[in-house]
């Protein structure tokens, strides 16, 4: 059917270019993900994946549980999947496409299960399938009763070959995908070592790893140090980097400071440094202009501090276009490019109270700034005031905010202390809050 034909039949048809390469790559990625179920898995283009689960089902609690788990996970990822388990690849292919969903063929009973399926389930070349249908061979059972020699003579060897593969008389090897290898460096020791000699090992591993990364023109963003103990336990340390990096000294330092947290047990017999996440990192031209002051490179410092307190707690602040002070800031990663503009022009307090604290207020006239208020257990007489600055709630967020109106005043008390007060108008009248402190 041509596109024009299809569009004539369905006027509002959505047409997209087929992306065969993209599909194949996605299928391969999915096949690689399926390695979580078994060591052998392969894409089966155009739309299938074969997994050799021989011996793996007990790890998931049986074949049915494995299939249910696979189904649930892929369903959760938004993929519509039909899966089946059988003794052979060809039989599983047939069941997945032509039998009830999640069909499991009992071991050794493949021929019986296949018997009721249409002949097309044998995955025959289209011409052969058509001529089989023309002669009245509708089910696989119909083929099984014909003498093999006659079948081969009339339809060629393909039908027999597919039949044999489905019933296990002929092996059908799969060419498995290999797991994407993260760049790693590994050292195995003749004698178990303790933590004190681990620092030197880490430096050596870092040098080895960085050599590999350099030849691949990549830099590490996340690294795992694995210490394999004599008692088969693995102690691990993880370090993140704010920028892709392949400087062995810096990488080693991220770990050497924290080696104390590794419990060596009876000794460590092997150590491995794995770059779990890498990014392209090309060689860079150093600033060579006369008088050009190089920007200080803060990435190593950020990494070290992140190792100490966590990367989420290191940040810079960027303005958000919001009149409400609580929402005026957002956190951005410490090494983001400069934001430059967008900061409020109006005076803002140096310390912000979050949430604003309600205060009791006396004002001479209803619209005036307060003359007296009580905050933190002290009465404060207002000597000078400036305002109001009117701020409206963001009505597009919630209906309640549409009604939110605040009037901010800067006031100075008798001691010279400056406060940021606001009054809010709501159903039960006007209420006053302290929102911040100026100096």
């Amino acid at each position: 059917m041509t596109v024009a034909h299809a569009q004539a039949m369905v006027p509002a048809l959505l047409v997209t270019e087929a992306d065969a390469d993209g599909d194949a790559a996605a299928l391969e990625r999915l096949a690689r993900w399926c390695l979580r179920y078994a060591p052998l898995a392969a894409p089966d283009p155009p739309d299938g994946i074969v997994i050799d689960i021989t011996g793996c089902a007990p790890l998931f609690g049986g074949e049915a549980a494995l299939l249910a788990d696979l189904d649930a996970r892929l369903d959760g990822a938004g993929l519509a999947v039909r899966a089946a388990i059988a003794d052979t690849w060809a039989a599983a292919w047939a069941l997945a496409r032509f039998a009830a969903p999640a069909m499991i063929a009992p071991p050794g009973a493949t021929a019986e299960v296949l018997a009721s399926l249409p002949a097309a389930a044998l995955r025959l070349p289209p011409a052969v399938a058509v001529s089989l249908g023309r002669l009245g061979f509708e089910r696989i059972a119909d083929l099984a009763v014909i003498p093999r020699a006659a079948l081969a003579l009339r339809f060629g060897a393909a039908v027999l070959e597919r039949l044999d593969r489905a019933e296990g008389r002929l092996a059908e090897p799969i060419r498995p995908v290999s797991e994407a290898q993260a760049p790693a460096a590994r050292l195995t020791f003749a004698e178990p070592i303790g933590v004190d000699s681990l620092a030197a090992i880490v430096r050596r591993l870092a040098r080895m790893l960085c050599r590999d990364l350099a030849s691949a023109a990549r830099g590490a963003r996340r690294l795992d140090l694995l210490a394999f103990r004599v008692d088969r336990e693995v102690a691990a340390l993880r370090a993140g980097l704010a920028q892709a990096c392949r400087d062995p000294d810096h990488i080693a330092r991220l770990f050497t400071e924290r080696l104390g947290s590794i419990d060596p047990g009876f000794g460590i017999e092997a150590a491995e440094l794995v770059a779990q996440r890498t990014e392209p990192l090309d060689a860079r031209q150093l600033a060579s202009g006369l008088g050009a002051v190089p920007e200080p490179d803060l990435a190593p410092l950020i990494d070290r501090l992140a190792g100490r307190i966590g990367a989420r707690r290191l940040f810079r602040l960027a303005p958000v276009e919001s009149d409400l002070p609580e929402r005026a800031l957002r956190r951005i990663p410490a090494l983001s490019p400069p934001v430059a503009a967008g900061w409020p022009d109006a005076p803002r307090p140096a310390r912000l109270l979050d949430p604003p604290e309600p205060v009791a207020v006396t004002a001479l006239l209803p619209d005036d700034p307060p003359a007296l208020f009580v905050w933190n257990g002290r009465r404060r007489r207002v000597c000078r005031a400036d305002g109001p600055e009117r701020v409206f709630g963001e009505w597009w967020r919630t209906p309640a905010e549409a009604a939110e109106i605040r009037e901010y005043f800067r006031v100075e008390d008798a001691d010279g202390q400056r406060f940021w007060l606001f009054r809010r108008f709501d159903a039960d009248g006007t209420r006053w809050f302290v929102h911040g402190l100026f100096a």
Binding site: L301, R348, D354, R384, A385, D386, L437, A439
Partner: protein
Amino acid sequence: MADVRDQRVIGELRARIGAIEGGGRRRCGVLPFGIAVLDRGLPGGGLALGALHEVNGEGPDLAHAAAPALFVAGVLARLEGPVLWCLRRGDLFAPALAEVGLHPDRVIYAESGGDAAVLPVMEEGLRYSGLAAVVGEAARLPLVAGKRLQLAAESSGAMALVIRRCRRRPEGIAEPTAAVTRWRVAVLPSAPLAMPGLGRPRWRLELLRCRGGGEGAWIVEACDAAGRLAVAADVADRPAAPAARRAGG
């Protein structure tokens, strides 16, 4: 006559002590305030770079935490380069720092929680050359920790500033410190304007302790948009309280 000779002897002794103290120390220069009376009281004529400075508020509670932060931000505004600010609580409001000239793009915040984390993070930042200054908000600054910060600051030339956030009455003012200077910033009522509104805030800036220098107290106008302090206009022509406090010179 004897008085003059004493002065000379004292001057020589000071120079010798200074030479002994600063024997292995790299001199990193100073950051002058640009106010003659203030800079005169400080050795080298300004706030030493590559040294630890301690800034106190007038009282323990939050009400007195704003002025020290702005004083520090004003100092940082006049330095060049990135700054690390170690927070204790999330009450610092960055737009105010921008108002005194410390552009937010220059500030990297580290939300490190209690003192036990703030001081090591500060030290790490100070040992790394590339930062202009490291600020930390800490309740306590023990002598040993202060000494470590001071050595770290000397090694990189970055300025270290600790804002004391005591929970109770600041007994910290009396305890010994490893900092080169110890300041106290308190708010004062601002000068009345001819019209309703708020004028430039006014601070009482006290230098409580200064290695190799004297003490002092000044009434200043708070930081302007470039982080500069100014001598209050109506007290510029006469010495305010400081003369009395400058005990012994």
